[in-house]
């Protein structure tokens, strides 16, 4: 099922500068694999080798952090919005 995925600025190089893309899947994990099929290499930037998100990147299903839901197994449904939010440090 298609969902909207918000791509953070640091990863937009991989999505041809699109800040919003569409991906298919029933779980976060399937969505991430589908994203990687469309934009090769993006999953490796988001996830560790075991498939869980890197510790400086959080994934949100709508407003909720998936770590407090079912992590990568979290179910998604039509119309959901997924946000990938990395830590950013800039301020100077």
């Amino acid at each position: 099922m298609p969902v909207k995925v918000r791509i953070p600025t640091p990863l937009m190089k991989l999505t041809a500068n699109q800040s919003e893309v569409t991906a298919e899947g029933n779980t976060i994990s399937e969505i991430l694999n589908n994203l990687d099929n469309q934009f090769s290499g993006i999953k490796e930037r988001i996830c560790e080798e075991n498939g869980s998100p890197r510790r400086f990147i959080n994934i949100y299903l709508n407003e909720e952090d998936i770590r407090f839901l079912d992590a990568e197994k979290t179910q998604v449904k039509d119309g959901d919005e997924i946000s990938i939010i990395p830590a950013i440090a800039g301020g100077h």
């Binding site: 890197r54 510790r55 959080n58 949100y60 909720e64 990395p86 830590a87 800039g90 301020g91 100077h92």
Partner: protein, 267 residues
Amino acid sequence: MDFTDEQIERYSRHIILPEVGGVGQKKMLDARVLLIGAGGLGSPAALYLAAAGIGHLGIVDFDVVDLSNLQRQIIHNTERIGTLKTESAKQTILALNPDVEVTLFNERLTSQNIMRIFEGFDYVVDGTDNFATRYLINDACVMAGKTNIHGSIFRFEGQVTVFKPKEGPCYRCLYPEPPPPGLVPNCQEGGVLGVLAGVIGNLQVVETLKLVLGKGKPLIGTLLIYDALATEFRRLKLKRDVNCPVCGESPKITELIDYEEFCGVSR
């Protein structure tokens, strides 16, 4: 309430607000806010905190004003290139509002000096530019019970939140460890729309003033994301992590850590 006639006039637009009033203005004049970094975020933050009549401002920075700073660091100016940012900031603040007492810390924050610098301040506005300092500030705020008003910017995107110990999550609840160098973009290389620093720095001020006044709903447990290109604000929920290494139930980090300073190298 002991305002001078000049203060009543200076703060009149605050005092007539029911949410502020004389009582709120007094709270602001009594407040002690520490700004870490007199740069992109720190410049607008210092200006508006001073204009609002925050009575005591501390400023930590070890850098000097550079021409390339002036695209966004509006507390400095062309004549001050080469001078210490702390001194330059103090000059601008006192010219704007002589009510403000300014304390300068011309030093790089480390695990050795941070607790001494934090002493006497109630609120910490994080306007630094690197992960090492952000984690140090977070851990020290948790340990010392200080509220951390966090802002960060990258290109056209900014993040703002408030980390209030015990009441909400801390930075490590979100991101337990700093990213390794090489996996995050470099700030200089990334560039930033100058005014984005103004938007995010000023949102940090709004949150600080709300906390000082005890009014409204501060961004505790909420991450506000601003996308300047899309003209969009998004709110995401942040939760306390019971396994957080610093503010969780059995913290593993009980001493301050000096990470190697980096703001990231692009791949």
